[in-house]
Symmetry: C2
Subunit: 415 residues, 2 copies
């Protein structure tokens, strides 16, 4: 049995206007949104959402770090709850769909299910997670990290924002005084379902409305420093040079070529480079670049990164230069729950919604839940792949398909 698409379509027309309503809390001059954790716009948005939840008949509460829950109580006693939602915080001048879409979609889906089918067997909770981006404080996943017990108050000790405001002070000012902190860890979660904008271009390129995510990638980040010899650009013949930037150029070019050859799911990026002295007529004595490598399999990451390190060292040795490769990030890949992923695909197929199995190359709250409880991550397309920008957008039709699928999935899980 499926939900009735026709009547549902009328309701979910609301999604676009509701996203825009939430975007009004912290709207930026350029049409984006600034809603940093515990800021006034964040406080307003969470309280506006709480009121909305109440108006839908949900039982609401904030946990001690500011995660907002709206519950539709199930009829079966002692069952765990189905959690669905995403994060309310934004990056600086971010897009209006990132995070928020997942919250609005969850709200509308649960409201519709309640209106159409009444009380579910299992409880469903919509969650507006307080923080994911790490945009205000140098710490990410504060919301999901607290619910899953990965963070406690100790993790924010001494952490300040760029204005020097302590994390704990910001919490207190937003109405969540650390003095009253009690662990928000939940032990009653059946599963977590997150619907999010893709923030990439694959779905648009494939012409699909939904991405069914099987894995969230592991990430390795490095800083590579090459030390050669700074010298006169005119008087040093090519064979006598130890040109750090020429060698960096070779490596950067090699990284792209090798990544393409290695695996279609592998991405490797050199986003940042600095040369020294960085003057047109002086051979660079030092060049430093970052390397960001992502894949969903640890062995592929290991092999690729080891290969690069060996190649870099060999070339540097041959060219008589020094090289250091400093790893500063290592995030493990997380697998989404295969049976939930299968259920999504089945539901999409039955509802004639086009979908594409995907790997998420970006981090999401689902990766924190993924090692804690069965978790599913679903994407809708991002126009031109743009995200973290006021230009972020998703076609209304795709926003609707996302809600339709989420409603169907929740129906199958809770009723």
């Amino acid at each position: 049995m499926t939900t009735e698409s026709h009547s549902l379509m009328k309701e979910i027309d609301q999604v676009d206007s509701m996203v825009k309503w939430l975007a009004s809390f912290g709207q930026s001059d350029s049409g984006g949104v600034n809603r940093l954790l515990y800021s006034p716009s964040w406080v307003q948005a969470q309280h506006a959402l709480e009121n909305k939840m109440k108006s839908y008949g949900f039982i609401t509460h904030f946990d001690s770090v500011g995660n907002l829950f709206g519950k539709l109580q199930g009829s079966t006693p002692n069952t765990k709850t189905i959690l669905t939602g995403s994060h309310i915080d934004s990056v600086l001048n971010g897009g209006i769909y990132d995070g928020v879409y997942g919250i609005i979609a969850s709200l509308l889906a649960v409201k519709k299910l309640h209106e159409t089918y009444g009380t579910p067997k299992k409880s469903i909770e919509v969650v507006s997670l307080c923080e994911e981006e790490g945009s205000r404080f140098p710490l990410t996943f504060w919301g999901s990290g607290n619910i899953t017990g990965k963070y406690t108050l100790e993790d924010i000790e001494g952490i300040k924002d760029t204005d020097g405001v302590l994390f704990s002070e910001a919490m207190k000012n937003a109405g969540f005084d650390p003095v009253q902190y009690s662990s928000p860890q939940r032990n009653d979660i059946d599963c977590f379902i997150e619907l999010h904008v893709e923030q990439g271009i694959v779905l648009e390129k494939k012409g699909s409305s939904i991405g069914t995510v099987s894995h969230i990638v592991g990430q390795r980040r490095y800083t590579v420093t090459i030390t050669g010899e700074s010298n006169h650009a005119g008087t040093t013949p090519m064979p006598y040079r130890k040109d750090a930037l020429a060698t960096a150029g070779h490596f950067i070019s090699y990284i792209s070529e090798k990544a393409i050859q290695t695996d279609p799911q592998l991405v490797a990026t050199v986003g940042k480079i600095n040369a020294s002295p960085n003057v047109p007529n002086v051979i660079a004595g030092e060049a430093q670049f970052t390397l960001d490598v992502r894949h969903f399999k640890e062995d592929v990451l290991d092999e690729f990164c080891d290969h690069l390190a060996n190649y870099f060292k060999q070339v540097a040795q041959k060219r008589e230069m020094e090289i250091t490769i400093d790893q500063w990030m290592n995030v493990q890949a997380v697998k989404m729950d295969p049976s939930l992923t299968e259920l999504s695909k089945l539901a999409a197929t039955e509802k004639n919604i086009t979908f594409e199995p995907l790997i998420s190359g970006a981090g999401h709250d689902a990766q924190v839940f993924g090692t804690f409880c069965p978790t599913s991550l679903l994407f809708v397309p991002s126009e031109k792949g743009i995200s973290h920008s006021p230009k972020e957008s998703t076609k209304k039709e795709d926003l609707e398909k996302g809600i339709e699928l989420l409603t169907e999935l929740l129906y199958r899980l809770a009723y």
Copy 2:
């Protein structure tokens, strides 16, 4: 007939101490020298040199921009003068041999010739050129440019140093009031001979004491800007990327490889690079780098630079990126006088001084004189090729060989 090496050697032992004496005017904390055009240390150095010239019996004068001449009058009437010397100004915290060595060597050579052989047939003048480096004002070769009539007072109109001091004001303060300017152009120069430190590593690598320079290279400089698409480093598969930095890396690597293949005398340098937004986890939407290409043949420069431009455009088009190639410097190659170069080689051979025919990859006053009168440029080695640095050094033995050869050359030309 050659000069008598034995007695000469005693005299030229002075060279090292005289270089260090001149370095005392503007000595930097790190053992280098700061002697910017028209600065107090520059004024002191020129006047100290004038006194030294007088003590050697030379007839001295300053021209109206501050070039200092010390003349040994020849016996033959109505003959042109043989000019020898180099520049007195330094870069910021520069080496103590750059420029100065050529002046000291000329002084000691002419003094010795006078003492040994008396009055020459042709007049010889030692010149301490006021400016070559362009370190204080954005203008180079002010000294040689005035003597050869390439510059007049108009060329410095409105030009200021980084402290906002006008060029004309600095001139006036140093004792060369522009109001009293009369063109320092000389029409009585027979030839110009410049002895200079190599500022490169070729002579040291070859184990030679002298470089006989046949050409000073032409220089082309460009800024290359690649515009791709800034995107998420995690969610953008490799084939969908327009990574400006990866493409820049490919070009930088290609430039080096192609330069090595093209011609042993060709040098091509990417010394400066900037990427945007220059963040580890964002694909660079723009990358900009400089390109400095040098060779002594215009057709080699043309062909190489055209090839690169075509290759860059082809690759950019294939990768669907924009590219602009902006040329901002084009200095023509200058040939030194072949008969003077031959005379130097002959003299070196007869005096058992090891020499190496060279192309100068750096600019020198000799390139300004080179299109004005027969000109010769001779090098002594720079230890480890280091220059424009307090670490700049030349072995005493090589300093002496340089003076020995210059003395012989002047003898053959003037006596």
